[in-house]
């Protein structure tokens, strides 16, 4: 698919003028008119009803709004909708057609209890998939490094790291393992990188 990047018009912040943008969201072409100040996350949630992407802060700190923009994970609260013009956006809703047919990473989060309240989960999934696209077999430390801009307050992160490891293995073609099997033999014991 050919994507055309158009720079956002300069000097429009003070006006109420709307700007026409074209996005490909979860594989579908979407034409919108947006105010220049509008955030991508608000367009996704409010205009396109893609509420799987969450908002947890106002300082780009929590990462729960993470989506893919042209294949790379971005915090959609820190991207203006006009900046995404011409780009492909992928949200958590695109990972599985329904809850019966989960993406291998989602299935791993279910089996390995990689979530509690679930509010950080969509962002966590999108960040992890970005990592796995670049590195299909990361160490625990590399996973922790990749998700350290996605805050979780419930889990202590261990079950998230384990879920990503197990999901990555399935995405590499290995058979899925149960929680019990995984706990008997963790996949990676590499320590977290120095901080």
């Amino acid at each position: 698919m050919e994507l055309i990047h158009r720079p956002a018009s300069a000097g429009t912040a003070a006006t109420e003028a709307r700007i026409a943008i074209d996005l490909v969201v979860n594989g579908e072409r979407v034409a919108l008119e947006v105010e220049p100040r509008r955030l991508l996350v608000d367009v996704l949630r409010e205009d396109l009803d893609l509420t799987g992407t969450k908002v947890g802060c106002d300082t780009s700190s929590c990462g729960t709004c993470t989506v893919h923009l042209d294949g790379r994970a971005v915090k959609s609260c820190t991207v203006l909708a006009v900046q995404a013009d011409g780009s492909a956006v992928r949200t958590v809703e695109d990972l599985a057609p329904d809850s019966e047919h989960l993406h291998p990473l989602q299935a791993a989060f279910v089996e390995h209890h990689g979530l509690q309240c679930g509010f950080c989960t969509p962002g966590m999934l999108m960040t992890a998939l970005d990592l796995l696209a670049r590195d299909p077999d990361p160490s625990d430390g590399e996973i922790r490094h990749a998700i350290h801009g996605n805050l979780c307050r419930c889990t202590g992160y261990q079950s998230i790291v384990a879920s990503i490891q197990e999901g990555a293995a399935v995405m590499r073609g290995e058979p899925p393992r149960t929680w019990t099997e995984a706990h008997a033999a963790p996949r990676s014991t590499a320590p977290a990188p120095d901080r």
């Binding site: 947890g56 309240c117 992160y157 901080r195």
Partner: protein, 771 residues
């Protein structure tokens, strides 16, 4: 969804049983149900409050005070604005009492004109508009005219006391007279923000009957319900509260949601349309409740053999501007202040006072993490003075069966303090590593010594340390709390043959929606996914009490099990010889619905006098130990928490994986409390009221946590469970501080142990007191 029917009933065990899921008991976790709402949360299909769409809904915001203490003279609306296009609500619009119903009704829904603003960010007026842009534009056009009043920020200088308790036993003077060593210490802890990732969110929808339906992110539907009835003068039916998917709570959505629901309702009633009040992070941190800051003073007497003979403890908590839950937070703090140790001569005193800061409230642990931090600091410092291992000092004092607590409670059963201690020591190789760190520090030329000259590099720069803490946590509500609220939980066989569990206990990640059906299924002998969990809607479920105090599985779970047993008996009595799982569908067809309501009855033999603080403060206690391993950079004083061994006795493990998740999450929150999380306060205002400035642990900060679960069942609950949520929060912070001491030789008395405080202590200064 894999399920496993497991045997019901409690195994009677002579001593605590250690459960190490997936390791020492292979296959233990196999077959336990998966998180019920997991797939919906993973696909984005789960609806949290801000995800819900109500056509025609307006957005609401709160106009808040910018002063800590002032008289509200007037609320002025800019005359150049056409206010007819929006809705403004003030205290004058409140149909009922202007109070947020709680323990003491001292907190107004909105400060009335002529009334007193008591803290920064206090709600004064409300504004609703069709869009957020209008709100942003008009927010600054409402001006509060005030006359400043002198504020009080120091809880020790306040003359307004929310609650005060004293517990004494034995003869303190005699105890100190018999002591070979007396150790004193003052410990300070500051505010801690719950920091659920989903901000507070509430939508109010006006009903045709003049009532209100609330959809919200909340822990306690019936708390909100009670507040609506009181301030809006609604009947039981006119007020309806529905808990939507809730993105974490940790106590932070225990009482403040009542306030937000009232605000949204006032606007919705006036605008005659649904109103959404969705907090942004900045507002959520600056205005909502925090863990109470506390000052804890200890004076302890021990013999040279390390036997505690006298404990004198004073606790001062900063309640903030309104009472909220301070009396019960303080009470729990006081009752845990001595730590899990036998002592014949004890005086515990506690006081919570009012300051002109935002009100403090519930946060996982509810007063106990503050006082247990101090108690464990004290024990570790005594061990150092006696040149005794901190493990050995604890062995000599820890509660055993039939010991008596300062309230006169005889610990008749379910005492696993020694078990959790020994498990933690063994799993961590505590003594062996302590010898190694002592050797390393001696080789470095004395612990904490900072040689002059350039920064060190390499191995000599990093010091390792290991630290131990032990704790206890009273299971369920304090004193006669459960008897007072008289919870009801129900299990129903519907006329169309479905099995439903009905409680008001919410799912906020901890697993209610998974374990309640699991427990009922086990009783009834059916697969777990045959059992439905009814929505937390006050129009549908009974008041089974709030989702707090680690009481859901222990107390409400007990009711649910009893209800399931009665349902099973009723169906099997009508169908002699046919087991429930074969009989229930036909039974429903023949006999219609059968609903069993199970009301709480006092645990046998558990008696507490709330007036004198004598008796069984809690029906049972959970026991926890933590051993933390840290690395401290001796040049920068940066702390890396490497490992935590967390050992928790929860009475009975219902779902090992979810239980472990609670321990890991609680432990990390405690690590954050110990090292990172600090709310800076100036003139009654939180300075770092954003997620960019209030830091919580990331995946890079999180240690490896190994959980060991222990089961010492409580006979009062049909399944033996004592709760798990809060227990791990009590111990990891003092363990981390002990490990920092082991690495550096300095004690950090005030949380958090920031590099600034550690460096100051290493340079010989006392760390700056917590804010």
């Amino acid at each position: 969804m894999p399920t496993r029917a497991f045997t019901s009933g409690v195994q009677t065990v002579e001593r605590a049983l250690v459960v190490d899921p997936g390791q020492r008991v292979p296959g233990r976790a196999a077959g336990f149900p998966l998180r019920r709402e997991g797939p919906a949360k993973l696909t984005g299909a789960a609806k949290y409050t801000d995800d819900l769409v109500f056509p025609g809904a307006w957005h609401g915001i709160t106009i808040r005070s910018t002063e800590a203490h002032a008289k509200l003279v007037a609320i002025e609306l800019d005359p150049d604005v056409d206010w007819s296009k929006v809705v403004v609500a003030t205290a004058a619009d409140i149909p009922g009492d202007n109070v947020v119903a709680s323990i003491k009704d001292d907190q107004p829904v909105l400060v009335p004109v002529g009334g007193v603003i008591r803290h920064h960010a206090e709600p004064v007026a409300l504004l609703a508009a069709p869009d957020k842009e209008t709100l942003r534009r008009l927010k600054g056009r409402i001006r509060l005219v005030t006359e400043p009043l002198p504020p009080v920020f120091d809880p020790e200088q306040s003359d307004h006391v929310f609650a005060k308790y004293e517990v004494t036993t034995g003869d303190l003077a005699l105890g100190f007279a018999g002591a070979d060593l007396i150790v004193e210490g003052t410990y300070r802890v500051g505010h801690q923000e719950q920091l659920y990732i989903e901000n507070n969110a509430m939508i109010a929808v006006p009903g045709d009957d003049g009532g209100i339906v609330i959809h919200g992110s909340l822990q306690c539907p019936y708390y909100v319900h009670k507040a609506l009835k009181r301030a809006l003068r609604l009947t039981h039916v006119q007020a309806r509260v529905i808990a939507e998917e809730t993105g974490g709570g940790f106590g932070g959505k225990e009482e403040y949601p009542s306030m937000i629901a009232l605000h949204a309702s006032l606007l919705a009633l006036k605008a005659k349309r649904p109103v959404r009040m969705i907090y942004e992070r900045h507002e959520d941190i600056s205005a909502t409740t925090k863990r109470h800051p506390a000052i804890v003073r200890h004076r302890s007497g021990v013999t040279k053999d390390g036997v505690l003979v006298a404990q004198d403890v004073e606790v001062i908590m900063d309640g903030g501007a309104y009472c909220t839950l301070s009396p019960v937070v303080l009470s729990r703090g006081l009752l845990h202040a001595g730590g899990p140790y036998r002592c014949p001569n004890v005086r515990l005193r506690a006081c919570a006072t009012r300051t002109n800061t935002p009100p403090n409230g519930a946060f996982r642990g509810f007063g106990a993490p503050q006082t247990e931090f101090a108690a464990e600091m004290q024990l570790n410092r005594i061990a150092e003075r006696l040149e005794m291992s901190p493990a050995e000092l604890r062995r000599r004092n820890v509660y055993r069966l039939n010991d008596t607590t300062p309230t006169g409670q005889v610990l008749r059963e379910s005492v696993a303090a020694e078990e959790v201690l020994e498990q933690a020591l063994g799993a961590s190789h505590f003594e062996r590593i302590r010898e190694r760190t002592a050797r390393e520090s001696a080789e470095r030329g004395g612990s904490g010594t900072i040689p002059p000259g350039p920064l060190r590099s390499g191995d000599r720069r990093v010091a390792n340390g290991i630290g131990l803490a032990l704790g206890w946590h009273g299971a369920g509500f304090t004193g006669s709390g459960e008897v007072y609220i008289g919870s009801i939980a129900s299990v129903e066989l519907t006329a169309d043959g479905r099995i439903r569990v009905l409680t008001a206990n919410t799912e906020m990640g901890q697993g209610t929606k998974t374990v309640f059906p699991q427990m009922v299924a086990a009783e009834l002998g059916v697969p777990s996914d045959w059992v439905e969990y009814a929505p937390q809607d006050t129009a549908e479920v009974p008041d089974s009490g709030p989702t707090v105090a680690s009481r859901t599985v222990m107390v409400v779970g007990g009711l649910v099990i009893r209800a399931a047993r009665r349902l099973k008996a009723a169906v099997e009595e009508r169908n002699p010889g046919v087991p429930f799982h074969e009989a229930f569908r036909d039974d429903a067809k023949a006999n219609g619905a059968t609903r069993i309501d199970q009301k709480f009855e006092a645990y046998p033999g558990v008696v507490f006098d709330d007036a004198t603080y004598v008796g069984d403060a809690y029906p049972a206690y959970g026991w926890a130990a933590a051993v933390a391993s840290v690395e401290v950079d001796l040049d920068t004083a940066e702390v890396t928490v490497r490992d935590v061994i967390a050992v928790d006795d929860v009475g009975k493990v219902i779902h090992p994986v979810l239980c472990e998740g609670q321990v890991e999450g609680g432990t990390l929150q405690a690590v954050g409390y110990a090292t990172l999380e600090e709310m800076k306060v100036r003139d009654g205002r939180y300075l770092n009221d954003r997620l960019a400035t209030y830091l919580i642990p990331t995946a890079m900060d999180a240690p490896h946590i190994r959980t060991i679960l222990v089961e010492a069942p409580f006979s009062g609950a049909p399944h033996g469970a004592k709760g798990v949520g809060e227990l791990p929060m009590d111990v990891a912070a003092p363990a981390v501080i002990a490990a920092i001491h082991d690495a550096t030789g300095v004690w950090i008395h005030d949380l958090p142990a920031t590099p600034e405080r550690i460096l100051a202590a290493m340079h010989g200064d006392r760390g700056a007191p917590a804010a």
